[in-house]
């Protein structure tokens, strides 16, 4: 039978009160990444060091001499979130601090593309940190260029509507699971109980932990800022972004089984980046999403 298990801590869920993100950050209205950090730190608590490579959060975290976080931040080069975090962890360990959590916090460009080698290296070594990719599906900080996380047929400034992206999104979660790291999970904003439970669970595990967060970018997705949470709920209900976890690269568990399923068009139609799609395109996306969901359900059954 299919593993559909809400993970511990999601029943009678109360959002932790502690705020480790200051109010008044410079994120865009409706930014998913800003809210994702707030949830993540609520789960992880103040004994957390955050490593941020070049990404939207390089801006959101505030310019010198300010910081939008109440925990330490190390800003680093685009491709080094994982490798720099490995160094932070080693230094903590050698000084006897095994309690502090190291959180690498990177966008999709820094994870799927330029930081991929360093991440794969750290995962193969099972370096001990939580790596979060907040995935807004393009290079948003530089102004909406395609990345290997950009969905098939999406508009970006480097994939104009006359020639939208022809390649499907890279399956980063499968790649991380293939490293057989102890914990891999997906999370998103409309499901804070699932999101926070996964970060808490990740915190309790040692080794490389990878959490893939779908993080809407209203300007980049050509969507309404007020639709940020709605978009993430529709992403789950349309099976575009299922919520699940993988332990040790093998044990798949679907953590949120939507109460209702919706066609992908419900998710796509709120986003101007998909406005040019033909009915045939939408049908093809529907078929791919259904196929991927069935594959996931099969993996969760094994």
């Amino acid at each position: 039978m299919t593993q559909i298990t809400t993970i511990p801590g999601t029943k009678n869920f109360v959002l932790p009160e502690e705020e480790l993100v200051y109010s008044g950050s410079v994120s865009c209205p409706g930014c998913g990444a800003a809210l994702a950090m707030r949830y993540a730190l609520k789960a992880l608590g103040p004994k957390t060091i955050v490593v941020i490579p070049a990404c939207c959060w390089s801006i959101i975290a505030g310019p010198f001499p300010y910081s939008s976080l109440k925990v330490p931040i190390y800003h680093t080069a685009f491709e080094t979130a994982a490798s720099l975090s490995a160094g932070v962890r080693a230094a903590l360990d050698v000084q006897g601090d095994t309690e502090t959590t190291v959180l690498a916090w990177a966008g999709d460009g820094g994870t799927f593309d330029i930081g991929f080698q360093a991440l794969s290296g750290a995962a193969e070594r099972n370096d001990d940190f939580i790596y979060t990719c907040y995935d807004n599906e393009a290079y948003m900080n530089t102004g909406i260029q395609r990345s290997s996380a950009t969905p098939w047929m999406a508009w970006t400034t480097t994939t104009p509507v006359e020639h939208p992206k022809e390649e499907p999104k890279k399956d980063m979660v499968a790649i991380m699971a293939a490293h057989r790291i102890p914990y891999t999970a997906t999370a998103t904003l409309a499901y804070p109980e699932d999101f926070i439970a996964k970060f808490k669970k990740a915190r309790s595990i040692r080794g490389t932990r990878f959490i893939h967060v779908l993080s809407p970018c209203p300007p980049g997705w050509r969507a309404e800022a007020s639709d940020c949470i709605k978009l993430t709920r529709l992403a789950v209900e349309s099976k575009v972004f299922p919520l699940y976890e993988i332990e040790n690269g093998e044990k798949y568990t679907i953590t949120v089984w939507p109460k209702k399923f919706v066609p992908v068009v419900e998710y796509l139609k709120l986003q101007g980046r998909f406005r040019h799609l033909t009915p045939e395109n939408i049908q093809a996306i529907q078929e791919r999403v259904d196929r991927e969901w069935e594959k996931l359900v099969r993996k969760a059954q094994n």
Binding site: P63, F64, T76, A86, V88, Q95
Partner: protein, 386 residues
Amino acid sequence: MEKVVTGNYAVSWGARLCRVQVIAAYPITPQTSIIELLANFCAEGELDARFIKVESEHSAMAACIGASATGARAFTATSGQGLLLMHELVHWAAGARLPIVMGVVNRAVSPGWSVWTEQNDTLSQRDTGWLQYYCETNQEVLDTVIQAYKVAERVLLPAMIVLDAFVLSHTSEAVDIPDQDRVDAFLPPYRPQLKLDVNDPHAFGPIVAPEHYMEMRYKMQKAMEEAVSVAQEVDEEFGKVFGRCYGLVEPYRLEGAELALVTSATITSTSREVIDELREQGVRVGLLKVRLFRPFPATAVRRALAGIPKVAVIDRNISFGHGGIFAQEVKSALYNVDGAHRPPIFGFIAGLGGRDVTPASIKEVIHTTLANDAPPEEILWIGVKK
């Protein structure tokens, strides 16, 4: 304790004696034996360090930056292409003011593939904000690792210990390995004022507007300027404790010389022999070894060359479109100083890609310089097939 070790093992022993806490490194010929020996030290419990066996030199420096920023003494080693891959983070380490020490075995840059010695790999890091020491012997390599941590941790800039591929890296010499307790007394544990600390949270390296950025770079330059005197003091203190010191530059038989040869690294040792031989024949030649290249010890160079009619610089490197890099540096040190004596400077390029620089090559340099009032060409090539 005296041991016969290669230049590479001298680097490893230096790092061990400094009780480095985090090592992140990637293999590359001819550096690899440095990190192999360190891996053994860690495996056998002789060195209490975390060794991160990263998947590239770029990640090696990133991990060292993370470790150093978290308050650990960090070490890596590389060579040639590995250093070039690391370049972005070589800048980062210096800009972040982290006293990382790195052993670099000079290796010629590709293409074509070469594993032999040449200085273009390290000299192309000249403007990154790292201290650079060029070493002549295996003993000097070991001693300089220890000195470099002390200087780096005082001025908060990283330091490279540079040694020639094979000529030092794989050549064994008798080296005195100092006692651990004496090194501990000389080099106390690294205790930075600021580090990544959940009990004292700060944000390191965020966006910096033009109103602040320039001041950060000004402070790096001030730290570099301070590093000249700190390196001098540390070398003298090292001499008092361990009985060996090297200077930032070393004048050799320059008294009454009509020609000063300027060299670095192992070309210096060969040059010493040639100077001795020619001095015996009555030729008035001497030598100036440049050990510290960044910060450039301009005052010491001017003082050493004062009153000498001619200077010949041997460069095992080239800045394409200009010439040998040490020659440029020596020239610039003599300019814009009131009353500075400015002899003609003959710039020779020799030994690129690991070609041997023999006593005959050095004699050719000396004879060419003595035979001409001024350099016949801006770049004088030794032994090149034109």
